[in-house]
Symmetry: C2
Subunit: 342 residues, 2 copies
């Protein structure tokens, strides 16, 4: 994929279980493009067979072309220790990709340094300058559009889309993953972070993504979902993405055992029953583009093997739809359901 060789910048965090989502996603789905991980606290170890190094200089023998900032920093700016690392990367001739909310391009010093060394600073969450409102072109996209939706944030909507895309391609389908957030963008090498665009343009950004996904050759487009339609903080992004991507089919993602939306203020926000979520999503489809939930992806990461199988069976029973955990048990069953429905 495009000759990029990543040095993942994860100083102090590579051993953290909550280790930056973007870094983790790239390590998982672009493993072959990662040559080293920078984390001086774990230098000499390795992670998934990738060497962990102490300094940018130590990483250079592995031949990186691009440094990836994939670990959240504290506060709104890059702290001084990070600035040192970023400077060293730029001075070593590495492009820098950044998945954080704060943009490299807003830092005049880094911008000047990058110009001087002829390297690119790529802010993965920075929206294209020429976005506009949705036009209806989403409804003319040929092929089948599948969107992952969910009962909450951070339950694996991106992972499910990636796993189902991989399985579909294994079966010889012309299948494309459509990235809508920074991690998906880092993994796929294109996309728009739809939660970072001007509110009026959410559907327009989503529309542009499915048009582009189709142009890239998919007749099966797996759109990475965001948030949840009943999420107190992010539902606007969720619904704009839903309507703007104009899916034909939906895969509902849920984490087994989660009963409340996490991290939203104002007291507990209960998650409705899965069957209610299925119905609500179908009724919230555009009247011009009805959408059906065809499968349930159950995230069982917190469960033992038997409990996991029981959770999948319970989701099937409750919704009457095929369910599975595609990470744990493979994506075959969910892809079967999608292919049967298109």
């Amino acid at each position: 994929m495009s000759g990029i060789k990543y040095l993942i910048l994860a100083e102090g965090f590579s051993g953290d279980p909550h280790y930056g989502k973007t870094a983790r996603g790239v390590l998982r789905y672009r493993r072959d493009d990662v040559v080293a991980i920078l984390d001086s606290t774990r230098a000499g170890e390795s992670e998934d067979g990738v060497p962990v190094v102490a300094t940018v200089a130590d990483a250079l023998p592995y031949g990186p072309t691009t440094a990836l900032v994939g670990v959240a920093t504290q506060g709104g700016r890059f702290p001084p220790a990070w600035m040192d690392i970023l400077r060293e990367c730029i001075e070593a001739g590495l492009d820098v990709e950044n998945g954080l909310h704060v943009f490299l391009a807003h830092d005049a010093e880094l911008r000047g340094l990058a110009d001087a060394h002829g390297v690119e600073l790529r802010d993965l969450r920075r929206p294209p300058a020429d976005l506009s409102t949705a036009t209806g072109a989403n409804l003319d996209v040929p092929g089948t559009i599948v969107l992952t939706v969910g009962s909450d944030c951070a339950i694996g909507k991106m992972t499910v889309a990636l796993e189902l895309d991989l399985e579909a391609r294994r079966r010889g389908e012309q299948s494309t993953f459509v990235p809508t957030g920074q991690t998906g963008i880092a993994i796929a090498g294109w996309g728009i972070a739809v939660d970072a665009v001007v509110a009026d343009f959410i559907a327009g950004a989503a529309e542009r993504l499915v048009v582009e996904g189709s142009r890239r050759g998919g007749d099966l487009l797996w759109v990475e979902g965001q948030g949840s339609i009943l999420h107190p903080v992010y539902s606007g992004v969720t619904l704009g993405l839903y309507h703007g991507s104009a899916p034909h089919l939906l895969v509902l993602c849920h984490e087994a055992g989660r009963t409340e939306i996490e991290g939203a203020g104002g007291g507990p926000h209960p998650i409705p029953p899965l069957a209610e979520l299925v119905d609500l999503h179908e009724r919230m489809a555009l009247t011009r583009r009805p959408a059906r939930v065809v499968a349930v992806a159950v995230n069982t990461r917190a469960l033992g093997e038997d409990e996991a199988r029981a959770a999948v069976a319970a989701a099937e029973l409750e919704t009457g739809l095929p369910a599975d955990d595609p990470v744990r048990f493979g994506a075959a069953r969910l892809v079967d359901a999608v292919l049967a429905a298109r």
Copy 2:
């Protein structure tokens, strides 16, 4: 209200039936604060008793403090003829308020001129710099929050909120209109255009507005709705505003006879039956903050008197809720319904 005296800039458009929404809204709801309208094509006439003048110089004897750009210009920037008018206003010492998508503050020349003349340029759609995601503070707002929702854009959600607020205040209620778009902001003198904020912050902006509305003394807050939850272009803004403003009660707005969402591309987007919209809105409430639709506001502007009464009766029959056209027949019936439900 704050000593502002408006010169409304409407060159070439003041006689147009689609005459800028912001200009029309201010003329209707802040009539006493408007001293002149600039439109050289109708100089010497008057509109609602306000004199129409040919030039900025001709307007000055009426004592304006602030020029209001309330008429959409072509394309993304201010055309040359408008730039001349804006320069004259600034040179005459007038502040300038702008409700357009394009910002005055992005024009270096106007900014320099404004600094030189000590006047303010206020872009009503420009979001506050310090917005963030919703925190749950919306759920702690005392009093009753009422949101106007609708079957489409441009059917009167702002007007309904304004009329119901006026009627509630006539009855002695501590009632406040909460503006969420440029016209509402121009009318009320505060607010945030929620469709102009970063997508992640829609609910955060809405939350801030109800917190601020409450601080301003309302125990009955009328939140101006935006878009429609099934609108192919703007639904993300609509739902983020719904969840972020955390309403207890909803007033559903509809234009009699409208069967399709207007101006959305990709072929006809049918509007569902009103009863279905009532149910869908109630089910899409936050699980933590159930919301009920308590009345239907029917816009009958296109109908004769008898047809208008029939349309209101039909909406009542279909939904089982009190309905009325508050502009045509007064807001009493709808305010009764809201007060009975709180």
